[in-house]
């Protein structure tokens, strides 16, 4: 039997794939294992955050080559949900490590083929603008940025234009110039880290002042590049903005009355939430949407509310089968709780749950928090 020494400590030469301070942080305690959705699916250490950090360390020291199949499979299998970060006693910034990992591995031909068109579509602000042109989102083409600006998103403005429209209906003071591009999160999470940062800086320049986002994934990336002070998440911002108590019941009156839901007006709606991973794990925003929902209906905390739904940015496109496996327990819980509404706070989760709910034929409606508050649908 072999006794080959293979840990980084024996091979101090580094290849500078990773920032040393990030990679050295992990103390291998394994506290991340129960938080990881792909570890839950497989039960295999290799598909856990600690396992992946050991793979990164092997890559960094040249113990495993760039084309090692396990290294490549795991860099793609990871959802990037960052559920490992809040439970990490050593403060490992796993999301940042994953970005560096994919930046190194996926630059060039190893990038999954099906993510390329997505990146191309959102790479230029004019393309993003053109995608949204036929949709009735909140953006105005000649509008000047204000002190507080609403980010329209790239795919969100195409797929869910009502989200920004409702956000603006709730808060007319939000400026929403449509001359804004993509935040760059998609690039950063798919191996184009520098381009992703550049797009975030461009968006920061197009929207000076505070940026309010309606998608957790975009918000976390923007906050990472522009600084947390510049970026506010819609539920958080809305709670801070509004006068408390009295005005609160006005929110979502139409939904609460059961309009369009076919439910008796007397019954309070049973409403669940799907946390956005990066909103919760990256920015620590999770109490706020719950508080807002509880003002409108009966809030039901699903057992997996905080766990990734499998959308994970472009993951549902890149790895549809795994994405569906991650989603399944969420759908089971929504069905078991017989929810009237499941609330989302991120465009990717919106699409993921909408498709899942439809596939299962569930009666539950998928609604963005801004739509719920605006009382439509």
């Amino acid at each position: 039997m072999s006794t080959v020494d293979i840990t980084p400590h024996d091979l101090p030469e580094r290849r500078s794939v990773f920032t040393p301070e990030l990679l050295d942080r992990c103390i291998s305690c394994g506290f991340c294992l129960p938080a990881c959705p792909t570890y839950a699916l497989t039960g295999v250490e290799t598909s856990s955050p600690r396992g992946r950090i050991n793979l990164m360390r092997a890559l960094e020291t040249g113990v495993l080559p760039d084309d090692d199949p396990t290294v490549n499979e795991e860099s793609s299998f990871c959802l990037g949900c960052r559920a490992c970060e809040p439970v990490c006693p050593a403060g490992v910034q796993y999301g940042a490590l994953l970005e560096e990992w994919r930046d190194h591995l996926w630059n060039g031909r190893r990038r999954p083929w099906n993510v390329k068109p997505l990146l191309w579509a959102v790479d230029s602000p004019s393309r993003v603008r053109a995608m949204g042109i036929v949709r009735r989102h909140a953006g105005r083409s000649r509008e000047a940025p204000g002190p507080v600006n609403l980010m329209l998103g790239c795919f969100e403005r195409v797929l869910y234009p009502r989200v920004s429209r409702d956000a603006r209906k709730l808060a007319p003071e939000l400026a929403a110039p449509s001359a804004q591009g993509c935040c760059g999160a998609l690039h950063a999470h798919n191996g184009e880290l520098e381009r992703g940062r550049e797009l975030a800086r461009d968006l920061g320049a197009a929207l000076p002042g505070t940026i309010v986002t309606t998608s957790g994934g975009c918000g976390a990336h923007l906050a990472g590049v522009l600084g947390a002070a510049r970026v506010q998440q819609f539920p958080q911002w809305w709670l801070a903005r509004e006068p408390p108590a009295d005005g609160a019941t006005a929110d979502g009156a139409a939904v609460a009355d059961g309009a369009g839901a076919g439910t008796p007006a007397a019954r309070r709606l049973r409403i669940g939430l799907q946390d956005s991973c990066h909103l919760r794990n990256g920015l620590g925003v999770w109490r706020e949407p719950r508080e807002l929902i509880a003002r409108i209906g009966e809030y039901v905390e699903l057992p997996s509310a905080a766990a990734c739904c499998g959308a994970a940015g472009s993951y549902s496109v890149v790895r549809p089968k795994d994405s569906a496996r991650v989603l399944d327990p969420h759908l089971d819980e929504i069905a078991a709780a017989d929810l009237d509404v499941i609330v989302v706070v991120n465009a990717g989760c919106y699409r993921q749950l909408q498709q899942g709910v439809k596939r299962r034929g569930l009666r539950t409606r998928v609604v963005h928090i801004a739509e719920l508050l605006a009382g439509e649908r």
Binding site: M1, S2, T3, V4, D5, I6, T7, H9, P12, D24, R25, I27, S28, C29, G30, F31, L33, P34, G43, V44, E45, T46, S48, R50, G51, N54, L55, A58, V63, L64, D68, P69, T70, V71, E73, E74, V87, P89, A90, G91
Partner: protein, 463 residues
Amino acid sequence: MTATATSTLLQRALEEVVGREHVRTDEGALLTFSTDATPLEHGHPDAVVFPASAEEVAGVLRLANERRVPVVPRGSGTNLSAGTVPQLGGIVLVLTRMNQVKEVSSADLVAVCEPGVRTLELAQAAAAVGLLYPPDPGSQSTATIGGNVAECAGGLRALKYGVTRDYVLGVQAVLPTGEIIRSGGRLVKDVAGYDLRRLLCGSEGTLAVMTELTLRLVPAPEASGYGMAYFPDLADAARAVSRVLASGILPVTLEFLDRVCIGAVEDYAHIGLDTSAGALLIFGQDGNPAVIERDLERMAQASTTEGATSVRIAESPEAANEILQARRAALPALSRLEPLTLLEDATVPRSRIAEMVDFIQEVAERHQLKIGTFGHAGDGNLHPTAVLDAADEGAVDRAHAAFNEIFTRALELDGTITGEHGIGISKLRFLEQQLGADHVALLRRIKAAFDPNGILNPGKLGS
């Protein structure tokens, strides 16, 4: 035959036992199973196998025994003494697929479960029917019950409730030669034969692979309450602990942080700790609310009598949580100071705690190391934690030298080199110093009786 050909044959044979998808031999997977939570220790396995039943475990062990291939059993790999590191290669036998809680019985006050159940899951299953599984090691959210039994894990409630060994009523285990045995069962009283379940508890995966565990549960306490006291010096805190125990109270919690830990926790968590204090004592009681109130009051009194500079009793669960946070944050706070964290568990009789902690500080200064000490004041289990820069090789050597002195001193004070982390690879060279040559020779004979070919976790306890 070449090494590769041998490996391929082994792989095929293993696949026949557990199924093709439950054997991993790719280099990346092997690498991720080459370590556990112990820094600086690693091996290189030839295969990783995930059995789903006792029969599959037996199949793997028979095969390994015939071919004289090492087998290292493992759960979640949270071991802190390199006990699950495959230092001689071979097969890593991962038991996490065997993860069912089979039964929780309120009538018999037992839980029956497979080894891959996480300890916290077991505790939750017991809590759901109003029962308590008391052992609560720091890693309980990740660690498996099989690993806890194999290591005889401790935890924060040991003074009042004991350790894992006090809760193991029965085990089913597979011998390295492939036979499946049972020892004990659902009975509190059972003296038929040698107490093998106790022998297997703490055997660190060197004697047999446990495939089912029957664990004792107790009624869950009605409530719990906590308080804290600052002392100018750890010796004062230690006297307060002695006074508490002499007064007839058996508290559920008696935890302390030394000066270095208080500073590190405050820098990290900003929870308003008094960084001028020499020691922080956290005390707690569970049970009937009236008893809790009385005991907390007495513990506060004992602290004041022994020179506490300030004492506080939590009035609400939130306040209690704040108090406990100081203790929970100790390891995270220390580990953030430097890239490499060496966490030890030298243990002394509780009357010698102050002496031991003073010695640890003296050693740290002499070796130019930063060592913070926190731990279980009630049972003398200390966690001296050295934080160092891994790139500074001199620091690693100095830390090893410092811990050599610390272990030796613990033995001089009638203590042990390990209270709850186990011998593994890390402490093996100190074992004879504690047990003596005759005792170690007996351990080897016991090991040989279970494992004639020395395939199970070789190079560790009993080898």
